[in-house]
Symmetry: C2
Subunit: 299 residues, 2 copies
DNA sequence: CTGAAAGCGCTTACAG
DNA sequence: CTGAAAGCGCTTACAG
């Protein structure tokens, strides 16, 4: 490559990286660019990574698949934004030991390793992102509880797997805050386990212990659909006897009867700043897309 | 590290890689191992990759998320098997341009890049994997059509996104073969689109045009659930009026009424040989886990 | 059996 | 403004 351009490898590097500390004549610059195009030359990432201390890869740690719209859109945002800055997003699925994580680090020394929804949880995203709107966990928890705004309905929900525990706790706190500020009775937590029969039993117990509960604000769509199924099996009317609202808008929500109304989180706007932070860039000026309720059947 | 052990870097490399071409005295070997442990020394993957020509990473290209059991278990198998051989699995989600793919290659020069379910489709997995059972697309397509074995029911199904088209076509062919060999009437293809109303319309049309169709063998669980919803909305009884059987066993299948019976593919056994092939290893001796039908409610 | 040296392809001070 | 040189941390012929 250097030979073809008739310049030193150093010069090639300067040109291809637009190094501002080095001025290169326009003629040389063009010559190098042209040669790179002709030869299809692209810097070898591994060599560059060795020299620079890390590869242009960001690893996202995600223990689940890409179930709802939240994770899916977040990945899209991360991917786009990283690509725009010459980096690559790679996802690691499953629950891994610390040792396995170290293996990844050792294998490619990624530029950063992101844990899914970490900032969403830690409060980073709870800050005002412009337009007077908060677009984080607190806002989303409140959005779910407030819907529909006209009827005051206590919600209930269920935290689940270990990794999500912290997030569940935070959600719970925000939901309780909302309930309180609306002057509603406190939340009644309920667990709707698998398999189906167990879930139905749990919902039956809830009805008996708390006949006054008029709505369920589910931790996620999976649990919302589980609850819907249980209510169906108990012969209860939705939303007549009790309403259900989901969180995270799975495509399966459309298929239940009644179809599931749910909080829809557009997390591309979360993924982008996360990407920039991972690269050590300023993440100002990104426009958030506030979460909204997808109303399917009346709740 | 070399200094601490009092040996040359070369020797460290020989010991740590168990190089068979080089004999190292037991004493030196122990000394190096001990020093490595003490210092927590691990070979730097990037440097090694530069020298060896590729990193110990395998990239899996997956345009969807991890929806059903097929992709999920396949990823598990790949991940396990690669880890057992000192490699790391990283997943790339979304539909990417050739340019973007090249970016990944340039960034870390992975050992291999796998396209999801490629061998599943190309026939690799259609071979007999031992025990006199085939555990591939042909077997799975047949399994779905044959269920329940007692009643002869024409199936219908729907291919969808571009990437899956080839797979859909192959499935279709295998299903038709099965139908034929069972002496059943030929398959009637049907598309059940989103949104819900459109799907319901499609199923209504099907009923009108082909009142003799008694069962739907869906392309995947999503479509099966869609069909179930449509039938419900049309006031038809399942399986009384028409049966539905899914493919790939989503956890949401449990929640419909009636619950969805589906083909359950344990693809860990597909992931493992794929991993070995990617590493250029022999994949003999791996035990396949044949697909089975998860019967939930009677079809 | 062990060690000194080359080289993988880059980037970046440094000298000209 | 340009080029020769060092060095990132490994592996692997090669000489001792």
């Amino acid at each position: 490559m250097a030979a073809a351009g008739g310049v030193s490898r150093a010069t090639v590097s300067f040109v291809l990286n637009d190094d501002p500390r080095q001025s290169v004549s326009a003629a040389t610059r063009d010559r190098v660019r042209q040669a790179a195009r002709d030869l299809g030359h692209v810097p070898h990432g591994v060599a560059r990574a060795l020299r620079e201390g890390s590869s242009r890869v960001v690893v996202l740690d995600l223990d689940r698949g890409l179930e709802g719209n939240h994770s899916r859109s977040c990945v899209r945002g991360l991917d786009d934004e990283l690509a725009a800055h010459g980096h690559v997003l790679l996802v690691r699925h499953g629950q891994h030991s610390a040792e396995a994580t170290r293996q990844v680090l050792d294998a490619i020394t990624p530029r950063a390793m992101i844990r899914f929804a970490e900032p969403y949880l830690t409060g980073h995203d709870l800050e005002d992102l412009g337009g007077g709107r908060k677009d984080g966990l607190a806002a989303h928890a409140a959005l779910q509880i407030r819907h529909p705004p006209s009827t005051g309905t206590p919600g209930s929900r269920r935290p689940c797997r270990r990794r999500t525990r912290r997030r569940a706790r935070a959600r719970r706190r925000f939901a309780e805050h909302t309930v309180h500020s609306l002057g509603l009775p406190p939340l009644v937590p309920v667990t709707v386990p698998r398999p189906k029969q167990a879930g139905t039993g749990a919902v039956a117990d809830l009805r008996e212990a708390h006949p006054d509960v008029t709505a369920v604000a589910a931790f996620d769509d999976d649990l919302a659909l589980r609850t819907l199924t249980a209510l169906h099996d108990l012969g209860l009317a939705v939303p007549g006897d009790i309403a259900v609202i989901g969180y995270d808008d799975t495509e399966y929500g459309e298929l239940s009867t009644p179809a599931l109304t749910a909080v829809h989180i557009d997390a591309e706007a979360h993924g982008r700043p996360a990407a920039r932070t991972a690269l050590g860039l300023d993440s100002a000026g990104l426009v958030p897309v506030p979460a909204r309720i997808i109303v399917r059947d009346p709740v």
